[in-house]
Amino acid sequence: MSTLIRHGKVVDEHWAWITADLPEQPAGREAPARVLLPLAVWLARRDDLDPQHAGVWLGPDDEPGALLPWLADVPLVAIHFPLFTDGRGYSLAHLLRRRHGYTGELRALGDVLVDQLALMAQCGFDSFSLRADQPPAAALAALAGGLRSPWPGPAMP
């Protein structure tokens, strides 16, 4: 079970991460209250979904600009890191925050490790679904004490 950190605190997970199309619900079981859908599925099914209960996640290849018309309303955007050494997600986060002005929750998902959390936060992530083996206390400490580039870049909006 992976830990979720949001705004510097360990919190409960309320979202079901759907990695393919929405599954058929087996009879007798309740559908998850909130689902986190792949971008393509979210775009295709958007009209059928309860907007407050359908978040969207991007793979490293996805184009964040595709979300532009709905960014003000989408309750959660997540970016998947298939491997922690795959740095594309940092650029996607930068684009969503800086270029497209997304102000909602931005979550890192997948191979999310303690030693990269501060970098992710600097690119605009504010929630982190840690890889299952990552110690939550160390993660909180890493987020509180990250190193920063000496270059005073433009402030994060």
Binding site: Y90, S149, G153
Partner: protein, 558 residues
């Protein structure tokens, strides 16, 4: 020289603590090998053939005397009494202990140095002309821009996990002494007709497995847009560069796949979002950076110093050293002096702790306490009054650093090779030594004139063999060391990649092969024509015919 601000100093100190914690977690098993690898690489720590190697950053090749003394101190306390200056102007310690690496980083932090991003898939140490700020042919000093890019790229959070390593070089002079066309981004100083300062930008150059000359992507980039534009290039690369095959992951492959026009379009589209925005560098920042690099107070300078002129006229060895190792300075009565780390029998680029201390002393006496490192693996004293050249020369002779061979055949560039590096296919140092021993006659070397010979122990090309007029590449054939020879490589504005002349040779054959090539050159050259120009004029055939027209090639393999 740049002096750390509080933010820089805090960063290097915090970085030591961070890496010490990561090392502790690795050693006690809490951090796995795969998770630790990129962390240690981004702190300069490689696992090598005999011992870990620590690569220390020398930003744009500039060192203060007290920093060089610290290198000597580290060499004595943590290594075997010497260090190796690299073709990227860094210094490597080849015999460190893994668990002592955080202690070495702590020592570096005391002299405003570090090993951050000297390896790994990130933006590496920024390099420039070793004569920056003092060259007579300079348009403007590139170091303030190097420092801006150094700060910006250090821990730039978006760009620490790129598809592959990323190298940036600046040149400020009419002549490119930084091989900028062989970098992922190369920037050459330009002044527009209306007086605006900026850079011509090249992208996708590099050596290694797939050598390419950088392509021009922008004739003139105004200096205030430097970071906006670099960020656009990096973002396009980070998002779209290949990650499925590390041999196709450099930006040069992306440029090829998108075509130059397609790549330029992507970068311009990306740049359009930030152009003129808050990421522009302010005039105040430029002024602040330029102040750090203001020239030192000139020394006691007289162009016709009588002692200097007497030594020049009466001492042939001194005159030869001046001819080869002393370059024109921006200020009259001053000189730029190159210290040869290419003494016969010493691995190219190596310096002992005693030599480093000695150079630090000489830099304080004769060069305003400043030293530069060149990508040809030599050291440079940039601010020497001409009248003090005889005294400096005596001091350098005592240290074994006065070989008058800069730019000549024996000033060869060479990676550590199979003696140290676990990537190498073949040794390079013994072959370099054999060449230096065979061609040790100064009269002959002076007669041959400028000639660049570069050698690498494997296709990763740390010895930059593709840009040597003569290049030698170590290859592995059935577990035997063989050496492939290329001709016609060149850096500077007429940059070109060397071409392979034919089947490779055994190590013992290499000095004879070089001798043949040199004899062909001596036979065809016009008055005053240097090796590479003669070669470009007549082509490779005459050289090939001579080398392969003998029995020798039979043992070789393609």
């Amino acid at each position: 020289m740049y002096r750390y601000k509080q933010a820089d100093q805090r960063l290097v100190e915090d970085r030591v603590a961070q890496f010490r914690d990561q090392m502790t977690r690795f050693l006690d098993g809490r951090l796995g090998e795969d998770e630790f690898r990129p962390l240690r690489l981004q702190n300069g720590l490689y696992v090598q053939r005999h011992a870990p190697m620590l690569r220390v950053a020398i930003p744009y090749g500039t060192l203060a005397a007290y920093q060089l003394r610290k290198m000597a101190d580290i060499a004595r306390r943590f290594d075997r009494g010497y260090g190796h200056f690299t073709t990227r102007c860094n210094i490597q310690f080849n015999w460190v202990r893994l668990e002592e690496a955080p202690d070495i980083l702590a020592e570096l932090a005391t002299v405003q140095m570090h090993a951050i991003q000297t390896s790994g898939n990130c933006i590496r140490n920024i390099t420039t002309d070793p004569f920056a700020g003092v060259a007579a042919d300079e348009l403007f000093d590139p170091r303030p821009y190097c420092e801006i890019v150094r700060q910006w790229s250090t821990l730039a959070p978006e760009f620490l996990f790129l598809p592959r390593k990323f190298k940036i070089a600046f040149a400020g002079g009419a002549e490119d002494r930084a091989a900028v066309r062989f970098h992922d981004i190369g920037a050459i100083a330009r002044v527009a007709d209306d007086g605006r300062i900026g850079f011509e930008i090249f992208v996708g150059g590099g050596l290694g497995r797939t050598p390419m000359v950088g392509r021009p992507i922008r004739d003139f980039l105004p200096r205030e847009e430097l970071l906006n534009y670099f960020e656009a290039i990096l973002r396009v690369y980070n998002r779209h560069g290949r990650r499925d095959n590390k041999y196709k992951a450099r930006i040069k492959i992306l440029v090829k796949d998108l075509t130059l026009e397609g790549f330029i379009r992507e970068v311009e589209d990306e740049w359009a979002w930030t152009r003129g925005g808050p990421g522009c560098i302010s005039e105040a920042t430029f002024r602040e950076m330029e102040a750090f690099f203001a020239p030192p107070a000139p020394g006691p300078a007289a162009a016709d110093d009588p002692d200097y002129l007497a030594a020049l006229a009466g001492n042939r060895a001194f005159a030869r050293w001046v001819e080869r190792n002393v370059s024109a300075h921006r200020l009259p009565g001053h000189a730029i002096v190159t210290l040869s780390l290419k003494k016969t029998g010493v691995p190219p680029g190596d310096a002992t702790a005693e030599q480093m201390d000695g150079v630090a002393d000489l830099a304080e006496r004769f060069s305003a306490g400043e030293i530069r490192v060149s990508h040809e693996q030599n050291l440079v004293l940039p601010h020497v009054p001409r009248g003090q050249l005889p005294a400096l020369w005596e001091g350098l002779r005592a240290l074994g650093l006065a070989s008058p061979n800069i730019g000549l055949l024996s000033d060869l560039v060479c990676c550590p090779g199979g003696d140290f590096c676990s990537l190498a296919n073949a040794r390079s140092i013994p072959v370099a030594a054999a060449i230096q021993q065979r061609f040790d006659d100064l009269d002959y070397l002076f007669d041959l004139g400028p000639l660049e010979l570069n050698m690498s122990g494997c296709v990763n090309a740390c010895g930059h063999h593709h840009i040597g007029h003569i290049g030698i590449l170590g290859v592995d054939k059935n577990n035997e060391e063989w050496y492939q020879v290329t001709l016609g490589g060149r850096e500077g504005s007429r940059a070109a990649l060397g071409r392979v002349i034919g089947p490779s040779f055994a190590a013992g054959q290499i000095p004879d092969v070089i001798a043949d090539l040199l004899e062909v050159y001596v036979g065809i050259r016009h008055e005053g024509e240097i090796f590479i120009d003669a070669l470009e004029r007549v082509g490779l055939d005459a050289f090939k015919a001579r080398v392969y027209g003998t029995e020798r090639a039979e043992g070789g393999e393609a």
